[in-house]
Symmetry: C2
Subunit: 189 residues, 2 copies
Amino acid sequence: MSSHTSPPRDRILAAAGELFYREGLRGVGVERIAAVAETTKMALYRHFSSKDELIGEWLSGIVRYYDDLWKQIESEHPDDPKMQLHALGAWTVGRCTSPESRGCALVNSLAELPDPSHPARKIIDAHKVAQLQRVEKLCRRAGLPDPAGTALALHIAFEGAQVAAQSLGRERVAKSLRKIVDAQLARSE
Amino acid sequence: MSSHTSPPRDRILAAAGELFYREGLRGVGVERIAAVAETTKMALYRHFSSKDELIGEWLSGIVRYYDDLWKQIESEHPDDPKMQLHALGAWTVGRCTSPESRGCALVNSLAELPDPSHPARKIIDAHKVAQLQRVEKLCRRAGLPDPAGTALALHIAFEGAQVAAQSLGRERVAKSLRKIVDAQLARSE
DNA sequence: TATCGGTGATACTGATCGGTATCATCGTCA
DNA sequence: TGACGATGATACCGATCAGTATCACCGATA
């Protein structure tokens, strides 16, 4: 019996991610994470020294996911920075339309991590900075005017759309984001 | 002794607002709210039947603040919808640059209120819808092309800028938001 | 002066929190 | 077969949570 398809650590991380995203960091106790992962609190503490470390591992996993996303987009549109930006826009549009979406996990976590010196905060801030830099680099390589300004405008649109989609209707906001991205990427000279 | 300038209920509401915004809904206990308000937990429960009700009152107060802000902007730029939109943009820019800013209180609270049927959620969603409608109405009266689309683009920029300002540098994001607003409001036909 | 509603202070409840200790069990590898 | 590391289960710890009960007090009003 008890034949699980993945080791306890993976199950715990998966369960924690699901619950943290759906209910917030402080809205979920370690006991429930362990239960959803079909294991016990003790197993959790054998793999993670504290709840904070578990949160950090989860956030780091999300950052890794974005790294992979960028690699994938890059490989799907090699040497085509404008198409890569369009692909990133399309991905964000997809996030907005997803009915289970509760916005960006990193942004939501930021709301529950008021202490700027908290290690998890640094993971989030570093990711956002890196994300903007990657967009800016693509804008520059795409020959867009004012690459720094355009990248920031795109980034703001991505963040805002994911927030707005929660209260203003997903399809509507997604459509608007598409238009914003198209307009920014169509600018030349 | 004990000469307070305001009645306990006001002090409690003020303290709750400060703490809720700075540390999150779940990050603050009623006991601490009472202490900061220079009163006791009992006094709190004499004026609010539960913590949830206190949260609701706080959020409702914020919504009222926005109502007042709109009235003020309207009175400062009567019959000038485009200037009113610029004023709203300037106000949001100010929020981004404020060093104590932790983004939009309603958006942050949304992250901690996963249950869509929670009464506080409805306050937030209703406000965001109303906010968009007001912007849209101004866009229409200002004669901007595609008023619905422009309003949504502005709203997304407002939300995104307040989020992005926390990780990407306040001045930088504020400047970018200013440019986005100017560009949207400069469009004609 | 007597009264009475609002207030402050303290102590309490039951539940849940993060984190720990203990022990039985199971699979693997020698 | 024997041993060992990883796991599961349960019970526990002190702290904190939301919410309640009790009582002393103070200021206004009659």
